[in-house]
Symmetry: C2
């Protein structure tokens, strides 16, 4: 497959074969208190338990696997302040390939340490002065390295889509079909991958996205029928979802398949995160708790329905987590 193929259900299935054994088939959790609150069955895909603490390894591994061997041997480059960086570094390590990650100088120390632990080389940039994509593309050109975009690439999209494939299969093993699927949405890699496979294997499942206040530009774009940009000067607690706009590829998929969007405030996300601490015993980062927040705050009709959602990541600064517990514990 090349960079220009359209993401497809078969591509997701092939990515699942690549990931078999390399990624963790994360558990699909259910909680009796949340079910009672919602009046339905809520199935939570605990991707926070994935290698690197988020779903990002799925796409990165798929991208690396599909590179021609000679190209892969020259290494891969990505820009990311967090979860995607770890996913790319881990995938490269499995192939013994070089990974260069362009990260902001003020990236959390834990994330920097994790990228290094996976053997990734870090190039720091000043987020107020430099263009990280320009830096990355210059290095890629100089060293003839492939790029792993964080969402707008067919391999990345298909890799992330394996999450929904596993979810549908696990639900079916429990005799359940999904009425709805809610995805934590930043640039749309996870959403469009999940939507692509759901359309093929579970076409009756309604697909929703959950976005943070100030960064709900994906749902705004879908409503407008064209890409609308977020004002990236706005603050959000969901750092992993603070993307300026959906991608060109992801937008085309999402505009066709996403049925609705939910916008959650910082406070709503924090409450869901604290609830997950107490009742799920899971560590979620704010962006990873936003689909749960949509159910917890009853943004979706759940009565009598079976709804799956993504708990997409858990890479959160301990100090921030402690602060949220203090406010909502």
């Amino acid at each position: 497959m090349n960079d220009r193929h359209a993401p497809s259900a078969d591509g997701v299935r092939q990515a699942a074969e690549i990931l078999n054994g390399a990624a963790i088939a994360t558990p699909l959790l259910e909680n009796e208190w949340l079910n009672a609150r919602a009046g339905g069955r809520i199935l939570m895909k605990a991707e926070t338990l994935q290698h690197g603490g988020s779903f990002k390894f799925r796409g990165a591994m798929t991208r690396l696997s599909r590179l021609p061997e000679a190209e892969r041997a020259r290494g891969i480059i990505a820009w990311s302040s967090g979860n995607h960086a770890q996913g790319v570094a881990r995938a490269a390590k499995l192939f013994g390939a070089r990974a260069v990650i362009v990260m902001p100088e003020d990236a959390p120390a834990f994330k920097v340490a994790q990228v290094r632990a996976y053997g990734g080389e870090i190039v720091f940039y000043d987020r107020y002065r430099d263009d990280r994509e320009e830096i990355a593309r210059r290095i890629a050109a100089e060293d003839a390295m492939a790029i792993a975009p964080s969402y707008d690439h067919p391999d990345i999209i298909e890799g992330q889509g394996t999450l929904a494939l596993e979810t549908v299969n696990e639900a079916a093993a429990r005799g359940l079909s999904l009425d709805a699927f809610i995805v934590c949405c930043g640039g749309g890699g996870l959403t469009s991958g999940c939507a692509t496979i759901l359309e093929a294997i579970s076409p009756a499942t309604e697909i929703f996205i959950a976005e943070p206040e100030g960064y709900d530009e994906t749902w705004a774009s879908i409503r407008a029928g064209r890409i609308v940009k977020a004002d990236i000067s706005k603050k959000t607690i969901c750092d992993a979802l603070a993307t300026p706009a959906p991608g060109a590829i992801t937008f085309e998929i999402m505009r066709r398949l996403v049925k609705g969007g939910f916008t959650l405030s910082d406070a709503e996300v924090e409450e869901a995160l604290a609830w997950a601490f107490k009742y799920l015993k899971l560590v979620l980062e704010p962006g990873g708790a936003i689909a749960l927040a949509a159910v917890y705050h009853r943004k979706i009709r759940a009565q009598g329905r079976t709804i799956a959602l993504t708990l997409s990541g858990g890479n959160v600064d301990p100090g921030l987590f402690a602060d949220i517990l203090a406010r909502h514990g």
Copy 2:
């Protein structure tokens, strides 16, 4: 089966049938960083994801299921400040039976609320003045209710043992056999149940216990060949493991089958708990992190070996958790 039967592997297997569908077959997690640190394969049974946030539901459900229906209809009584209380209340709720829990007046508000949410009736006592067991036995006699001891009962022991049965089966599905199994140990219900089934289905597995400083009386008892009591005035962060002594039944099993004991300090447990936050994305209570602490702090030879351990519970006060993150994050 009656109160006097000796715990057996067949009893554990029968308990597993009772729990099939009622308890969660919790995931067996593995983490690449811990494996690298240990130099072996570390398999962690994430019982923090069980109903009620700990393994205790297994034993409580087994006990309730085996009561004659007429007796069960009169209800069950237990004394516990935490995890066992939730397990008993949930099991009783499933049978529509009354549950009375004798809890200290100063029990954490979250645990009190959870017992009530499961429909349990709470009788408070003053932990400095009253004898909780005497209160419970008086109510049991007056209302002709059965008692669910927190560890020293064959049904409880066999119910907890299902955790090791699942662990061995899941490890086998991955092509692994267990060189060692480390259990978080308070009164020994979990340890003796796990030891009973491991002796039958995985006799080469060495069984170890992990206990907190000041409450390592089980290993002290095993070494002495008789029950030695802990000084219960000592403080420990592992409230769930602050038992005064192993039980009569659990001790006889453990003295025969437990190969060694590890004693962990509060600081060592806190460090493991903070590590689990960062790398496992799991919320553990201190007592639930102690077997992990034994591996993390290299108390056991792990090089080239496959070692299973219990992450036995996650019911921790948010304030305490935040404090630990502040100290070790």
